[in-house]
């Protein structure tokens, strides 16, 4: 009887989380995959960059789901920090350290294209570092609140 009540309580906690996480995942998928594909046809970009785009969608959707699922727990902040770190590595890999080099055949000749995106990459990394900073503050705030509530319950 007690176990059944516990299971019911757990289900009552889990179901809204799962629904919220699924909703958030769908919203992220639509925002980072469906809308950009609707606006820009992906076949304009080289295959390598299409694959990087799918990887970005995967990272964004996965972390959107897990962060939402674990919201209100320490894992929410841990996954937020992990997401920011993974995005830093991802951006450095995609932008090839800031310089993108492409070779395209064009009317019987080969055209080498070099795009210097160092400034853009620096902003993206800075953004991710700000996200980490924010998550660290949120984590500290979370731990302080938990310590305060445990102290209150002891008194």
């Amino acid at each position: 009887m007690v176990e059944e009540g516990k299971r019911k309580g757990l289900m009552n906690k889990l179901i809204p989380r799962v629904l919220k996480a699924a909703l958030w995942g769908t919203f992220t998928y639509v925002f980072v995959y469906y809308l950009p594909r609707l606006i820009y046809p992906m076949d304009l970009f080289p295959l390598k960059y299409n694959q990087f785009f799918y990887l970005f969608v995967g990272i964004a959707v996965f972390f959107a789901v897990v962060v939402k699922f674990f919201s209100g727990t320490i894992f929410e902040h841990a996954f937020s920090i992990a997401r920011a770190l993974i995005l830093i590595i991802y951006f450095i890999a995609v932008f090839n350290g800031g310089v993108i080099s492409l070779t395209m055949p064009m009317e019987g000749t080969t055209v080498n294209l070099l795009v210097d995106l160092k400034a853009f990459l620096a902003i993206l990394i800075l953004m991710s570092l700000l996200e980490i900073g924010k998550s660290m503050f949120q984590l500290t705030n979370f731990l302080v609140k938990r310590a305060e509530s445990s102290q209150r319950s002891m008194h």
Partner: protein, 259 residues
């Protein structure tokens, strides 16, 4: 701590939105960038030839294109640098059109350097390097390598069998059949002087004739020179013909054996 978290949240959200808007508009701008090339044209100049490559940029995007720099290195088939040309367009503002031409000048004044190109077909290797600044924060560089065929203006100069005909009581007419092909893109207008030297390298006779040979056509004429009867014995069965070609772009000479 909460105000700090909120401030960081607002900052990151704002910058994310700005980055997404910039990325989307930048991709849109690149997709709407119209670049067109006109027909390449060759012009004779006082020092040689000028290859003019007209281009047209229609920047209907949201960002300026600045410091557009087109540099072309042209090398001959041996890898010798012939010319370096540069075209600079300081700014192509958003919503504006720019028409410009990249002029590549090849100086042929000192024809001895280009003797191979005057008498033999060849090819040029053109290395084009384009640099520009997109939206003032994204430098873009583009390079390409093109092989351009070159047609010689005096290809396959040859002298036929020289013969003499009676002209009057004091002179004979010496007929020199001369042929060559103008493979170049330019019409040849100028003069051709030919001097006939005998087998002991003694000047026998000479004549200057005008040239008007259309591009991609053959010159096949008999050039008449005159020789006094007293000097007829100097004309031997073999010897050399010395050609001096003079056209507005250059003057060059060629020795050709006959007989």
């Amino acid at each position: 701590m909460k105000p700090a978290i909120r401030a960081l949240g607002i900052a990151t959200t704002t910058i994310w939105i700005l980055l997404i808007v910039f990325s989307a508009t930048a991709v849109y701008s690149v997709m709407n960038l119209g670049i067109d090339f006109g027909e390449a044209q060759f012009f004779p100049s006082s020092e040689g030839v000028v290859l003019s490559l007209p281009f047209f940029i229609n920047n209907s995007g949201y960002y300026d294109i600045s410091e557009l720099n087109v540099t072309t290195h042209i090398e001959d088939s041996n890898g010798t640098l012939l010319t370096v040309s540069n075209t600079f367009v300081p700014l192509v503002s958003k919503g504006s059109n720019v028409e410009a031409a990249h002029n590549i000048s090849i100086e042929l004044g000192d024809a001895t350097e280009y003797i191979e190109l005057i008498f033999n077909d060849s090819f040029f290797v053109s290395d084009t390097f384009v640099a520009l600044n997109f939206a003032r924060i994204v430098p873009v560089q583009m390079s390409m390598n093109i092989t351009v065929p070159w047609g010689a203006p005096f290809y396959n100069v040859s002298v036929g069998e020289i013969f003499d005909l009676p002209f009057n009581i004091t002179h004979v007419r010496v007929v020199v059949p001369v042929s060559f092909e103008n493979h170049s893109f330019l019409d040849i207008t100028g003069t051709m002087q030919l001097e006939i030297y005998n087998d002991v390298n003694e000047l026998v006779t000479s004549e200057k004739t005008s040239l008007d040979v259309r591009s991609q056509s053959t010159y096949n004429e008999q050039v008449d020179t005159y020789l006094s009867l007293a000097d007829v014995s100097k004309l031997t069965e073999s010897g050399n013909v010395h050609f001096i070609f003079e056209i507005p772009m250059f003057t060059t000479e060629l020795w050709m054996p006959y007989g």
